[in-house]
Amino acid sequence: MTTRPGLVRRLARALAGHAGRVLPPSPAKDEWAAAMRQETEAIENGGASLRWALGCVYAGYAERIEAMAIVDTVAVRGLLVFFIALQVSSCFFATVITVAYKTGHMGIVRAMAGQMPGDDYHPVIPLMNAIPWWVHALWVSAGILYLFAAGFLFTRRRGIAFPVFTAGFALTMIAKLSNIVVIADAGLQPVVARSGTAIGRMIQAIPEFILPLAIILVLWLMWRTRPSTGLLA
């Protein structure tokens, strides 16, 4: 009967100790590490003590990552802007080609057909006719949110970039689902666009939701990082 609490307590103790060790070096590191350990020890309920220790581990790693300051470098921000640009082009693709086709700008349609199987736009004509305007509105809105997120990132307003990009991702997901439903209702088959560049094709090989989720993760890390003079906890 006493085995389980003992195990939980030992696990909590080990986690709190680990949390203290991963804290970044600082004059106060030892004191905060001890504070985490002792507070975990002082909590009488085993489960609560374990939850407290898990939080300490999170705090330890968060502090370590922040001290490394790797997520807010020019290189990372540039890479993020590039990846966001890929998301933007993907969001605008269907709408731009549909508008170009319906307004008779066939030069644009043929140029964009280079990203389709067989460089042929004809298979997508039924899709262009089937997809309603509100689905395009969703795609364009998502693309605009992504553009704003890239702009905020560029101007270092990372606190806004994260929620704006996340909202864009949510809209993208709704648009994708709507596309699937509309296409299925119309009895059509989706046509998958392929990138014209080698790097684009490599990126396309990654499941499509992984890239935006990775962007969200990095933006979140930037967002939760506080400037040393502020209190943006």
């Binding site: 002082a42 407290w52 705090a59 003079t229 502020g230 209190l231 906890a233």
Partner: protein, 104 residues
């Protein structure tokens, strides 16, 4: 013209809790229960406040034998002034119900 740094809802909540009894030394777990902040959020804020001279800490011997000493915290005089200013600014800026929600 200097701009006051932004402050998170969580930091504000902690400042308000510490300001409730400014002379009292508070333990991390008690502050967590009062503010609803998990330790993963609480410790980084405590560290930041301490780094900026707004929070002081000390080790307290346990009341019961066999229990470990605990780290206790309270606002410094500067911290109290800062906390009062931030909490009152929130109260001025928002209707009472919203202000109360924002720090709980």
């Amino acid at each position: 013209m200097s701009r006051t740094p932004n402050i998170s809802r969580q930091t504000l909540s902690l400042l308000a809790a510490l300001l409730d009894a400014p002379e009292a030394w508070r333990h991390g777990y008690d502050l967590s229960k009062e503010t609803g902040l998990k330790s993963g959020t609480l410790y980084p804020i405590l560290m930041r406040l301490s780094d900026q001279g707004l929070l002081e800490s000390r080790w307290e011997e346990p009341e019961q034998r066999g229990r470990p000493p605990r780290h206790a915290y309270r606002l410094t005089p500067n911290g109290r002034a800062y906390a009062r200013e931030r909490v009152s600014r929130l109260s001025d800026a928002a209707p009472p119900a919203r202000a109360a929600r924002a720090v709980t």
